[in-house]
């Protein structure tokens, strides 16, 4: 990437964390702007109109949720939330509110870069995935004929399993919350029925994964949702 690489706004109150992120991002060809809190973050966002936000959830001067809401009023740039373990409920709220993905501290460079790549790729695509065939590993989803095959053999999926798989595949590499998936597959009447989703996910893994208890593609984001790991998105 040239010196016109994507601009990332880092909103984190911890200076060492900001420094680590800046060094890591600049080394990969990104440009960075930094802010130490909610108010400064909003100001910098308006000034620079960044291509991506890295937002720490534990900011001292305000709520990451509120900031996400305000950013979403005018910016479509992806927001990746950085949080500590144990903040799952906050993460889910921010994701349901318009954030795109999250990273749990401590994370590696590889994970950070993979998340940023996925987020930017999804942001660049204005319309839903247009190519009729999605492939990951041995699995192939043909959207035009509504068929799924694994290693060349056709798989029998129920309508809900198919919907679940295609929803995840349409956002490959990106986390989808339980609520988002329930809404997409079962509709607004079932957003609290998390165990439906879990049961269907287990069935889908039985059909798609070599070792369902150690899934390679349909990854659980515990307490948050699920993610389909796209080809090349592995950290």
């Amino acid at each position: 990437m040239s010196d016109a690489g994507p601009l990332v706004l880092i909103i984190d109150d911890e200076a060492p964390m900001r420094r680590f992120l800046r060094v890591a991002l600049v080394a990969q060809g990104y440009r960075t702007v930094e802010a130490g809190g909610v108010a400064e973050g909003l100001r910098r966002a308006v000034e620079h109109n960044p291509d991506l936000f890295l937002l720490d959830l534990g900011l001292p001067d305000g709520d990451g949720l509120e900031l996400t809401r305000q950013l979403r009023e005018w910016s479509k740039a992806p927001i990746i939330v950085i949080s500590a373990r144990g903040q799952e409920a906050d993460k889910v709220r921010v994701l349901d509110c318009g954030a795109d993905d999250y990273l749990t501290k401590p994370f590696s460079m590889g994970e950070l870069m993979a998340r940023i790549r996925v987020a930017l790729r999804h942001a660049a695509r204005w319309s839903p995935r247009s190519e009729p065939v999605i492939t990951f590993g041995e699995v192939q989803i043909d959207l035009s004929s509504r068929t799924v095959s694994r290693g060349g053999r056709a798989l029998r999926l129920t309508p809900h399993e198919y919907k679940l798989l295609t929803t995840l595949a349409g956002h490959a590499g990106k986390v989808l919350t339980h609520r988002q998936l329930l809404l997409a597959v079962w509709g607004p009447g079932h957003v609290e029925q998390t165990h439906y989703l879990r049961v269907y996910m287990a069935q889908l893994r039985q059909k798609i994964e070599d070792e369902p208890a150690r899934p390679r593609w349909l990854v659980t984001e515990l307490g948050v949702g699920y993610r389909l790991r796209g080809d090349g998105d592995a950290p």
Binding site: E88, L157, T158, T194, H195, Y196, R198, A213, L222, G223
Partner: protein, 472 residues
């Protein structure tokens, strides 16, 4: 009106706001008039066929019935009315209170006397029977109240329970409020808006109310004391934990920090004597030691949260594969060189568990297995159900734990072996999480060498699942 509650700790006022109830008395007098009217009509019809003395008997029967049903006042009224009606309608000259035969003076006096005496006797009988019945009911109420109160620990629950019982006794809604003041004492007040005054004034019921309020006061006091005892025990345990944490942890925190600082300072000097391979080794060490510190701090925080009771178990219906898969993914770095088999029983039902806490439990067991067994030693993970319990086992082929009781492994700051690199919190956390789920964790020696850690969790009726669909 106020009642004194029979409790040394709650010497409160029992206040009752009552509106006298007239309706019932009015109904009694109306019934007396109606009964006398009806009997008079009957008397007029049959007077040709029977002696006047028989008609008097019919009147007396009416007085007895009114006395039995409505008490003394209406019965006395019925007696007087009977005499008057008898004279007016059935004794010549008719339709006047005058009478010709002087013998009727005696008849009327006797009739009035017998009527009034019957009224008094019946009323007394009725009162005695009613008192016996209500005493029995009150004793039963008191018993069930004290039994229920013995199970309750919070003041609002105790007050609500007492309110329910008192309301049932009075057959009228009541409010019971406690206003605590200094030194644990307080006032209990009972309000009965628009309640039946005559009944509450009755000594038997009043005594029973006092007893109920007294029992409630004692229950409130013991709940307050129990809460205080629990608080101070929690404080003491937190203190104890803090003390042992400091002494045990300071060493474990300092060691990795010293390695990191040392390695970083060497790298910063950029001395020519440090070749590229050594630099890489130092960086690797910094990375590993920092990861170790992270695990340590995470375990410390988790243990502190668990033992302070700050953790709320948020159970959800989950396929057991899900937390297992997630824990295996998180432990991937440490498991990379390990032969690992996962066996989940066919048809395993959904298990009610807190996914995040349970993942932590699994992760600690896996890290434990990695830490205390030689590299390359296999690890097995099994899940099954038996006797309405979910059973999860992690078995290794390591050297096993040193001799001694196996439960001791789960105590805080107990290390399987010196030099393992942990603080001895991992298994204590596992036990706390298992207990928080209403389950248990045990360790035993594995036949043929190694250890088996077994977690059991209670199963319950699973929630309704979506209807199965036709294949697409």
């Amino acid at each position: 009106m106020s009642l004194r509650a029979a409790s040394p700790w709650y010497p409160g006022d029992l206040t009752m706001v009552i509106e006298a109830r007239w309706r019932r008395a009015v109904a009694g007098y109306a019934a007396a008039i109606a009964a006398v009217g009806a009997l008079t009509a009957l008397g007029v019809i049959i007077s040709g066929a029977v002696e006047p003395a028989d008609v008097i008997m019919i009147y007396l029967l009416g007085v007895v019935a009114i006395a039995a049903r409505f008490g003394r006042g209406p019965a006395a009224a019925a007696a007087v009315l009977s005499v008057a009606s008898f004279d007016f309608f059935l004794v010549p000259p008719f339709f006047t209170l005058a009478f010709e035969d002087a013998r009727y003076a005696i008849t009327f006096t006797v009739m009035l006397g017998v009527g009034l005496a019957t009224a008094t006797l019946m009323d007394r009988l009725r009162a005695t029977a009613e008192a016996a019945r209500s005493r029995e009911a009150q004793t039963a109420t008191l018993l069930s109240l004290s039994r229920e109160l013995a199970l309750l620990r919070s003041s609002p629950a105790i007050l609500a329970c007492a309110e329910r019982h008192i309301a049932a006794t009075l057959n009228h809604p009541v409010t019971l409020t406690a206003e605590p003041n200094v030194a644990g004492a307080g006032a209990l007040s009972l309000r009965v808006p628009g309640g039946p005054a005559d009944e509450i004034e009755a000594p038997a019921l009043r005594g029973s109310l006092e007893a109920m309020v007294g029992i409630t006061a004692v229950a409130l006091q013991s709940a307050a004391m129990a809460e205080e005892a629990q608080q101070s025990e929690l404080r003491a345990r937190t203190e104890e934990l803090r003390g042992s944490l400091l002494s045990s942890v300071s060493h474990d925190l300092r060691t990795p920090l010293a390695s990191i600082t040392g390695a970083a300072s060497v790298l910063l000097q950029g001395s020519a004597s440090v070749d590229e391979q050594t630099q890489r080794e130092l960086l690797q060490m910094i990375h590993e030691e920092a990861a170790r510190l992270e695990r340590l701090v995470r375990n410390l925080l988790e243990m502190t949260r668990l033992s302070a009771g700050a953790v709320r178990v948020h159970k959800e219906w989950v396929p057991i594969e899900e937390p297992i898969g997630s824990a295996l993914a998180r432990a991937e770095g440490r498991l990379r060189e390990r032969p690992l088999t996962v066996a989940i029983a066919e048809g395993m039902p959904l298990v009610p568990l807190d996914v995040l806490l349970f993942e932590q439990l699994l992760l600690n067991l896996l890290e434990n297995a990695c830490r205390y067994t030689p590299e390359g030693a296999p690890i097995e993970l099994r899940a099954a159900t038996a006797a309405n319990q979910a059973i999860l086992e992690i078995a290794d082929r390591g050297p096993g734990a040193p001799p001694g009781p196996r439960e001791a492994l789960f105590e805080r700051f107990t290390r399987g072996r010196v030099g393992g690199g942990g603080v001895g919190l991992g298994l204590a956390i596992c036990r706390a999480i298992a207990i928080a789920h209403g389950g248990a964790i045990t360790a035993e020696d594995r036949p043929g060498g190694g250890m088996i850690f077994r977690v059991t969790l209670p199963l319950a009726d699973a929630p309704p699942l979506p209807r199965s669909e036709e294949g697409a």
